[in-house]
Symmetry: C2
């Protein structure tokens, strides 16, 4: 769906000019990377150190892993060490390595809908079976529904907060309830249900919100992190896996993660970027810029009469389609030169996704088109 | 095995000091990267272009793919375009993407022994079945033996020239014979046997040799390339897949390769390095430095009484073990503070591998130890 929109976008932009097309289809960070990033990159390029070193250890440079462990200790209080951190090629690479390490063929993984479109691929790559569980009306995890979906074959659940495509940040209580239920289930089954937390947006939150720590809440947890949004460098493929120090069979799991990093062909996370992020643990893009975009968009959409949950993080708005058929409504938006993605593509039919990581002008100028589209449906 | 040696090496270096241990266990390029690399990297870091662009297309930047296609056209005459080139996270990433795209569970892939240790992982990751075929005494492909190993289930054969662990460069005639046999088999079976050529060492050749082009020889061929050795930047994970324009179902295959780049979590090859290599298509490390190391080593080993095929490329010497049991002989070398890897680890028992990408001094100073070790066996 996203790809179709992408191609449609190219077509429309050719026809009407890029300025007259409102492309909300791609989650590509558009806030400038922090100035520190450039400085450190030039410094590293000049001193040439990273290039001399050849292959890094498969798990990554010890200094980088220690810098990350230190930050996790500071922000969560969880006594994690460098040994529990494995550098990855972004969150996508991290999740593939995690699923390859955890899954036996036929193992079930719970995915909450609406979901990030790549999860089923990542799980099925390694013989896993996806079990979808709907979130509640406000897109928060429905702990009872998840509990009902857990079987003897359930190996893990994957969550994503702040969420793509909804912008939802799961509350501390919600996470605590989920963790309690998972602990009970793990005990009853005598084998753990792993909680995999996909956290590329964890620093992109609004209104001074903080995202509750998964590691703090549940010991059988694994975090997949990416610097793509925090530092606005998605194309560089740098992130990490952080494993709770008290996770079930911790040493075996870490060995498996390192082995799979190698055998899946990642070998190691890009070396130069490992050194860059080691120096930028406390740096992030200006989130206020995204917050302003969210507010511009939410104000305009509310005035136009759309219904939605205001996003608390990430840069997506998941809007109720004024008509039942979201694919049809996205076609109506297309007539206004607006590119959005049908919720059906994310397992959330009846909605559509707006990625608001675009110029403010695109948001402002699109609102009349959004208004005309909803009026057409009345 | 390599890992065991690596750990043993750490232990010995602590005990005797790094200068007194001769570590030939790792294929880590040690020739300085070309000066142009640093210049372009600083230039790119300064102008910040790559960081602004966010995700690149999954297949890579069109400019980079075009620069590579142009070089392949120039050097081989094969009329390849940017569409046939897909950027990858090194050759390891490329091979995983290729096998994921080609293999159905149960498909057989022929691997020539001795072989690079990761191939079986890469193949089995996607349900493939490895069929080992021995090379001839001089480590060249035994076309008759390969022909006999081809069944209805054979999907592909992977070759690696210049070879790790033997340093062999396959001759033009040998490749032509292989290609002819594969064409006949493909015709007879009415489905192609793909020839996958893993070429990270293709620029690391000695005595003014050139490596015959696989693309030129056989149309159902796919090249996996890495810049790790050519530019001495192995940790950066940058390489490409090049597909013959006349390969069976070319468009389907290219779509599959791009999709698998995404779904395996690579998403795209690291963006900054894509831009770097686009500018360095005609640049390589000083191969003369490796050649000098090869000559130092071969002279010393011959004088000490060892038997081997002189490597024509790569930076490995595959030496006949003076005793039948290569693991045992590697232990004898260990007593001389020499770290080598038993051939058994590469499916080549009765041999051991020396990676000569080390300081000249390490080579020179190790020779007396090698001499003592062989004398101990007489």
């Amino acid at each position: 769906m996203i790809r179709k929109m992408f191609e449609e976008g190219i077509h429309l932009k050719k026809k009407y000019g890029a300025d007259n097309v409102y492309d909300f289809s791609l989650g590509n960070p558009n806030v400038e990377h922090p100035e520190e990033l450039k400085k450190e990159l030039i410094d590293l390029a000049c001193c040439t150190i990273p290039l001399k070193h050849g292959y890094t250890p498969n798990a990554g440079y010890p200094e980088t892993r220690e810098a990350i462990a230190q930050k996790i200790r500071q922000t969560t209080g969880v006594r994690i060490t460098a040994d529990h951190v494995i550098m990855s090629c972004g969150a996508g690479g991290a999740l593939n390595v995690i699923f390859k390490s955890l899954l036996d063929p036929g193992d079930e993984v719970i995915v909450l809908t609406p979901f990030f479109v790549e999860y089923p691929f990542y799980i099925e790559n390694y013989g896993g079976v996806v079990k979808f569980v709907k979130t509640r009306e406000d897109f928060s995890p429905d702990v009872d529904a998840i509990a009902k979906a857990i079987t003897r074959k359930t190996k893990a659940i994957i969550i994503n907060s702040p969420n793509n495509p909804t912008g939802k940040v799961y509350s501390k209580k919600n996470i605590a309830d989920l963790a309690r239920m998972l602990r009970e289930k793990s005990l009853a089954r005598k084998k753990p249900v792993y909680l995999i937390s996909d956290e590329p947006y964890v620093e992109i939150v609004y209104d001074h919100l903080t995202v509750p720590s998964i590691l703090k809440a549940y010991s059988n947890s694994i975090v997949a992190y990416s610097y793509s949004k925090t530092l606005s460098l998605p194309g560089e493929r740098i992130g990490y896996i952080a494993v709770h120090p008290k996770i079930y069979e911790v040493e075996n799991l870490i060995s498996a993660l390192i082995l799979c990093t190698r055998t899946l062909g990642f070998v190691n996370a890009p070396a130069l970027m490992q050194r860059v992020v080691a120096r930028l643990q406390h740096v992030a893009v200006d989130v206020g810029i995204y917050q302003k975009k969210r507010d511009l968009l939410c104000d305009g959409m509310a005035k136009a009469g759309y219904q939605f949950e205001k996003p608390q993080g990430a840069f997506y708005l998941f809007v109720k389609s004024p008509i039942r058929d979201d694919v049809e409504f996205v076609k109506i938006l297309l007539k206004q030169n607006i590119l959005a993605v049908p919720g059906s593509g994310f397992g959330g039919p009846g909605y559509f996704r707006i990625a608001f990581c675009v110029d403010d002008a695109t948001i402002i100028n699109s609102i009349p088109g959004f208004a005309r589209a909803i009026n057409e449906c009345r």
